[in-house]
Symmetry: C2
Subunit: 146 residues, 2 copies
């Protein structure tokens, strides 16, 4: 696996170590990581800082041109909110650790011309399967499920 997906998984592991939901992400521009993040629902009580959103937030204000040269790595298929953020900033390329435990809005992304690659990584699947099994109600809260 390349260093950027490794960094996204490391973010997920940081989140797990904090008692949080183990989803991580990094934003890469011109082969440099400009933002790292992980789901902050537990840690900050945040309903908006999914892993991808936290990476975008930690990257701070970028130019439209920087986003259009960016790739976002995420350990889990991006939900509608995170996919919407990717469309807002016209990030052209999304690399996903896995989409077996949760299928996000990949169709919305590809329908707008975003390139979505799913790596189907066992390490990402294991992280989520363990989390969902031990914290089902927390996981449902994170994806807005009853």
């Amino acid at each position: 696996m390349n260093e950027f997906m490794r960094a996204a998984i490391d973010e997920a592991l940081v989140g797990a170590g904090e008692g949080g939901i183990p989803i991580g992400s990094v934003l890469v521009v011109d082969d440099l990581i400009v933002g790292r993040g992980h789901n902050q629902r537990i840690q900050k009580g945040s309903p908006v800082l999914h892993g991808e959103m936290d990476a975008l937030e930690n990257a701070g204000r970028l130019t439209a041109d920087q986003y259009r040269r960016a790739t976002i790595y995420t350990t889990l298929s991006p939900c509608h909110m995170c996919s919407g953020a990717i469309l807002l900033y016209a990030i052209p390329h999304v690399i996903v650790g896995e989409n077996r435990t949760f299928m996000g809005a990949e169709d919305l992304l590809t329908g707008h011309g975003v390139r979505v690659e799913v790596l189907d990584l066992q390490e990402c699947i294991d992280l989520m399967e363990t989390f969902i099994k031990t914290h089902p109600s927390l996981w449902n809260e994170d994806i807005g499920e009853l």
Copy 2:
């Protein structure tokens, strides 16, 4: 205009008073405002806290059931990111101040069964027209335009 749209506009005015982008929002559950917010790009250097996202964030962690009884009021048509957040949490009703100065992802919302009402309020149009005229590059940054 009802008290909730008034509160959203008041949030936009707070943002304008802080030197920020004048877009505000409130989240209403069971006829009570549970979160108020306004665009935080300037104030917090945030690329993710649009007005609607800030209202969701300030509401904190809600149950899926609460979101499904919610209405979100926003002074401006919600972009893809904010619309995606509305879909993530299955918020069924969106009331929009105006969509003349920016048309967001209303089709995405209505395509998923969300009820979108646009009030076409001159006060909201005036706020954005003045802002866009005086800060065009900042506005383009906020909507990911080159």
